[in-house]
Structures are given as structure tokens and as C-alpha cells.
Symmetry: C2
Subunit: 190 residues, 2 copies
């Protein structure tokens, strides 16, 4: 079996952490693949929040959920920046998982990308709601202009987190020339 890519490993981590009925967040809906995956993990009794700054992404996600016959009663999709996640989530709501795919919308406008400042604000927002053993998983594509800076900012943020509160994993491929995505996962351990 092939060693899992960062994307495949992000799903493994979420599968091991998120249970039926949980609340989870997709901070970068993109074409909706992770949102769909999350609705499957939490099931009908769970709740999924999705964020994307591009209307096209929200529409793509809605269409994907519809074509997969997902009951969207507890699926809340927002066409706003993920930096607002802390404001949007009800104050006492705890989440067991969140996923970020940093970069641009695959197949979309490559000049519209995620940025370090809003990404860090969004990660912090998710951490404010993260339950014990919950994970925030960041998959960073960084071959585009500004991608390297964003990746480094995210890794630096993770490196600084208190080890009594969080365990921060980095999963990356060392010998690849074409910027395969790296993964960082923050698990709450306190």
C-alpha cells in the first residue's frame, strides 16, 4: 500500500477523531469534497459548518451535497471568510474536527487564495471551540505565490502552541520537487 498523501492522511486523522453526532467545520469548502466527507463522518445527527470566501465554492459544495443526497438540515454553509468562524459558531458549541485546505480553489481563479493572517485567525477561532482530543487539520498547498509564506506562518504558529494544551503534528514529504501539500494537525490534549 502506498504511504498516504497529506490529503488522504487528513481524512484518516478526522475519521479517527470525529464521531457520529459531532459538530465539525470545513474552513475552506472549495469544491465541497471535504464538506461531503464531514457530513458522512458526523451523520444525520451531526452538524457541519462550512466557510468559503468565494460564492462559486459555496455553490459547488451545495451541488455536490445535493448530488450525493446529503440531508442538509444541519449543514450550514457561509459565503464569508473563515476568519469569522469564532463569531459564527454558537458560543458554547464544541467541535471535534476542523479542516483547512490552503491555497486556491482547484479549477477556479488562481489569484484568489487564502492568506496567513486570516488563516491564523480562523485556526485560533477553531481552537476556541475544540473539544478534548479534537483535531484541527491544515493541508497547505504552497506552490503558488505567497504559498510558502503562508505555510511557514502556519507551521510557526503550530510550533508555538503550549505542549500542555496541544500536540502538533507535521506530516510532509521530503524529496518531492513539485510542492506536494504538507499537513499540520493540532490536537487538543488538555
Amino acid at each position: 500500500m502506498k504511504i498516504k498523501s497529506a490529503l488522504e492522511f487528513s481524512h484518516e486523522l478526522l475519521s479517527e477523531t470525529v464521531n457520529t453526532g459531532d459538530t465539525v467545520v470545513d474552513c475552506t469548502m472549495g469544491n465541497g469534497h471535504d464538506t461531503l466527507f464531514l457530513t458522512d463522518l458526523v451523520g444525520k445527527k451531526g452538524t457541519v459548518y462550512g466557510f468559503d470566501i468565494q460564492g462559486e465554492a459555496v455553490e459547488n459544495t451545495k451541488a455536490l451535497l445535493k448530488s450525493n443526497h446529503v440531508q442538509t438540515k444541519n449543514v450550514y454553509l457561509y459565503n464569508i471568510s473563515h476568519a469569522k468562524v469564532d463569531e459564527i459558531l454558537p458560543y458554547e458549541t464544541m467541535i471535534s474536527g476542523a479542516i483547512f485546505n490552503l491555497g486556491y480553489l482547484p479549477g477556479g481563479d488562481k489569484t484568489i487564495v487564502t492568506y496567513p493572517e486570516t488563516t491564523i485567525a480562523a485556526i485560533k477561532g477553531c481552537l476556541n471551540h475544540l473539544c478534548h482530543n479534537g483535531v484541527v487539520v491544515v493541508v497547505a498547498y504552497y506552490g503558488h505565490p505567497g504559498g510558502e509564506r503562508e505555510k511557514n506562518t502556519v507551521l510557526e504558529f503550530g510550533s508555538q502552541l503550549d505542549q500542555k494544551q496541544y500536540s502538533v503534528l507535521k506530516y510532509s514529504f521530503l524529496n518531492q520537487k513539485h510542492f506536494p501539500p504538507i499537513l499540520m494537525a493540532i490536537q487538543r490534549i488538555d
Copy 2:
């Protein structure tokens, strides 16, 4: 569920790659825990080679296998440097997995450690016998004198491998102060 430690993840990778009947190598027997794990993965029809420069490690491993009632007909334990792995393995023998735990023998003499030069020689020896999709997994403890240099040498070696032949994963924790082990896995993909 907790995110797997480097040690736990080394076992996950080997479990996903090694099949019953395969030939595998434990390049640092230590107290025998990985050797025991490998005998379980390959079963009675498989073959396990073990290496350790310390007689104490070989004895500990033999005792552990015995107390776990492992049939040792196809288990070959050598009290020599893992740098000799390429000489010891029959020329045409292909392996699907190899494991290294770099550092000193837990509970043993802390001044007897693995060294970069022999470690790299041993990794190269394993690569010479690695089958398609096979993995060489290195777990590096590096809190001891010289450990940092050994870790860096191993990572540098992995970074230089041809991406057409090998996929090289690094799995590490970013925010831990007390040198938790890092993992590097080399998978043959050609």
C-alpha cells in the same frame, strides 16, 4: 483518539505494507519489541532478520521471542552492526519492510549509540533489497549527545533520494520540548 506517536505510526506503516510470508529486517533489535512485532506481521512462513551491536540486545530479544512462544525457525538474529545488512541478506532476497530505532538501548548503556555513518550504510543496505511499495522506517531518538547530528544526517539522506524511485515521508511533532522521536519512512515506488 490520540494522534499516533512516531513509534505507533511506525507500526501502522509496517502493518499496511508487510504481508504474511514476507521477509523483513529489524536493524536495531534493542529489547526486541519491534522484532516481536515483525514476527507477528510475517507469520510462520515469513522471515525476520535482526541486527544489534550489543550482545545484551540479542539476548533480550531472544528472551522476548521465547516468552511469547514465537517459532524462531525463520528468525535470524545477528550480534553485528546493521551496516552489514547488505552482506548478510542473501543477494536476491527482497524485503517489504525494515525498522530502525536510532539512539541507545533503553535501559542499557547510554554511551553505546547508533552513529550516522553506519546508520546510513544500513539504510542503503536495506534499500538494495527493498521491493516495490516496501518501506524502510526510521524512528530517531535524538535527545542524547550526537543524536541531533544523526537525525539531521538521516533526514538529509532521505531528502536527496530520487523522487522517481522513492517517496520519503517525515512525521514529527512541532511543539514538544523534550525531543520526542521523529519518524522518516522511505517507500520504494519504482
